[in-house]
């Protein structure tokens, strides 16, 4: 009995004591950072970084809303940042603590979701498009309609995220991806349900390993994931369809509930350092808004790649998501009807 008690006490001490360094809670998209940079940050600042990941903006929003974890730095996308600002969930940043902000390209700051750039610091940007297996597809794909081509039955992976999948259908129909018209959403819904026999599944990050393995011929992916896939599987190609697509920016924000705002600022500034930015860019292969990182990459074949770094002037139909506000209920409803109806 006594031995047991001692053991229990030991366990308890280990669980409570241990690490007394201040903790920084970081909440990022899955596979979106070279986590070895976290260790560098820990050493430099003598803190412990708790790193958690999410796989859609909606999940991240609910998690923040529920307030079960006091995150210090979060990496949501444009439209979600707009929503969070509206709902007063974000802290105004103190840019005197983020001197590296000036490393950023001007075209990625002061964007519509944060017009005065008070709350957010861009992390990566990119597009959404189709990655396809050139061995399966004769010629090249240039339109979203390829995803409705019956030749590609059971060859398609869609993305399990409501805005991204609805975007595909809305763009193909020629509507805005920020539509507030229920009938346009309904039309997109019918189109996606019509597509379901051709679709293998709606998945998120697993799409990467699936496409590298060649488990499907076509998939809707984010540009950086496409760059990654193409790097590992040479028969894969990426295209931004001619009907247009989504141009997005993911940025770092500090939630109001953060308990360690000073450290959070330091972390954001740390991420903007050129060498850290470079490590992350090489790891995740998304397009960087950091001018210094871009300079480093010059001439390595990265900057000329459409998946990695598209020349935006060539793609006039790119649109950014906006927060649908109350209309989000319609998106939720339509989305669940698509998923449940797609079986």
């Amino acid at each position: 009995m006594k031995k047991w008690l001692i053991l229990l006490a030991a366990v308890f001490l280990v669980s409570c004591g241990g690490d007394q360094r201040p903790r920084l809670f970081v909440y990022n998209v899955g596979e979106y950072m070279d986590t070895s940079v976290l260790e560098e940050f820990e050493e430099e600042y003598g803190v412990r970084v708790i790193y958690e990941t999410f796989d859609s903006n909606e999940t991240a929003y609910q998690k923040l809303k529920a307030g079960t974890t006091a995150y210090d730095v979060v990496f949501p996308s444009d439209y979600m940042i707009e929503k969070m600002i509206k709902e007063d969930m974000l802290e105004k940043l103190d840019f005197s603590l983020i001197p590296n902000f000036e490393n950023l390209l001007p075209e990625f700051t002061y964007l519509e979701y944060d017009p005065k750039n008070l709350y957010s610091v861009p992390y990566f940007w990119g597009t959404v498009g189709i990655v396809y297996d050139t061995r399966l597809v004769n010629g090249s794909v240039d339109s979203w309609s390829a995803l409705w081509d019956e030749r590609y039955e059971k060859e398609i992976f869609m993305y399990d995220s409501q805005r991204d999948s609805l975007m595909v259908a809305l763009k193909l129909l020629g509507y805005s991806l920020n539509t507030h018209k229920t009938e346009e959403l309904e039309a997109a819904k019918s189109l996606l349900i019509k597509q379901s026999p051709f679709v293998i599944a709606y998945i998120t990050d697993v799409v990467i390993s699936n496409m590298i393995a060649g488990n499907a011929g076509l998939a809707v992916v984010y540009s950086g994931d496409a760059a990654y896939i193409m790097d590992e599987n040479e028969s894969m190609e990426y295209v931004i369809p001619k009907e247009g697509s989504n141009l997005w920016v993911d940025a770092m924000v500090i939630p109001k509930m953060s308990n360690n705002k000073e450290l959070a600022h330091a972390f954001i500034d740390f991420i903007l350092r050129p060498e850290i930015g470079l490590a992350n860019t090489e790891y995740v292969m998304y397009s960087t808004p950091n001018a210094l990182v871009l300079e480093e990459l010059e001439g390595e074949g990265w900057t000329e790649n459409d998946a990695f770094n598209p020349d935006l002037s060539k793609f006039p139909n790119l649109e950014m998501f906006k927060d649908p506000g109350e209309f989000v209920a319609e998106y939720d409803r339509i989305w669940i009807e698509i998923l449940a109806g797609a079986k």
């Binding site: 229990l8 280990v14 903790r23 958690e52 079960t68 974890t69 006091a70 590298i212």
Partner: protein, 260 residues
């Protein structure tokens, strides 16, 4: 003849079905390719190195063990005492307790999970270690009670009373008379609680926060990303631990038999 080999062949087939995926997991943890794609590209121990360097996994492993040990210890003690008390309750009260006790066992895990989450949320508990531990204790105790009660019924009801008539306090009676009688029940209940806690995913997922995770939660997020074979390396280690534990347990039993 047919009668002899057919059943055995069938049994082997079922074992093959149960173990093939585990073999695949183990095999591909040594695959050189960075992708869990099903193509063998050569032997490598890279994923083990990566696993040991993975801070998330290390942290999750620690929390999993600490929570399993604490919740098992607590539910073992509380569950045993409660079972002894429940055993002495009047029929009606006992009926109530046992019915409520069954509830977490038959309810869908997800319903239990969200029920607790709503409870913790409404009393503004800080999500993390405490909530996860409370949740694990909550679903563990019923199993301990269910394992202990049959033992109590099998026991001579007069023993504890005789002890108390001879001047023992209830506490002493329980410790020195009742507990030795029901020990097997306590241990099998504790074993159940321990394995349930180690393996729990759904209830933990909804009732944690602030960086506290367990292995299941990490595996789920790794499996949903499906990116690197470190998952396989982790699985292999778990398989190794389970098999070694079972082997040792068997050896001990054998030795006991030989001696006895």
């Amino acid at each position: 003849m047919v009668k002899k080999w057919l059943p055995n062949a069938y049994l082997c087939l079922i074992f093959f079905f149960l173990y093939a995926p585990i073999v695949v997991l183990v095999l591909f943890s040594f695959n050189a390719s960075s992708r869990a794609t099903g193509t063998w590209t050569g032997f490598s121990l890279e994923w083990y190195v990566e696993l040991f360097e993975d801070r998330q996994i290390r942290g999750a492993l620690g929390y999993t063990l600490i929570i399993a040990i604490l919740s098992t210890a607590i539910s073992m003690v509380v569950g045993t005492l409660s079972a002894i008390g429940v055993y002495k309750l009047r029929k009606k009260a006992r009926g109530y307790v046992l019915n409520v006790n069954y509830l977490p066992i038959i309810s869908p895990e997800i319903v239990t999970a969200i029920g607790l989450m709503i409870l913790f949320q409404s009393i503004r508990l800080n999500f993390g270690f405490t909530t996860m531990l409370l949740a694990h204790i909550m679903f563990s105790i019923p199993y301990v009670i269910l394992q202990v009660l049959p033992r109590l019924y099998a026991m001579d009801p007069n023993m504890a009373e005789a002890a108390m008539d001879l001047g023992a306090t209830p506490w002493q009676a329980i410790r020195m008379v009742v507990v030795p009688e029901i020990r097997p029940g306590i241990f099998s209940g504790a074993l159940m609680a321990f394995t349930m806690s180690l393996d729990d995913f759904v209830i933990s997922l909804f009732n944690t926060g602030n960086g506290v995770t367990n292995l299941s939660i990490e595996v789920y997020s790794m499996a949903r990303r499906g990116i690197r074979p470190t998952v396989n390396a982790l699985a292999t280690l778990m398989v190794a631990i389970v098999f070694i534990t079972v082997l040792i347990a068997n050896q001990i039993q054998l030795r006991k038999k030989v001696r006895g």
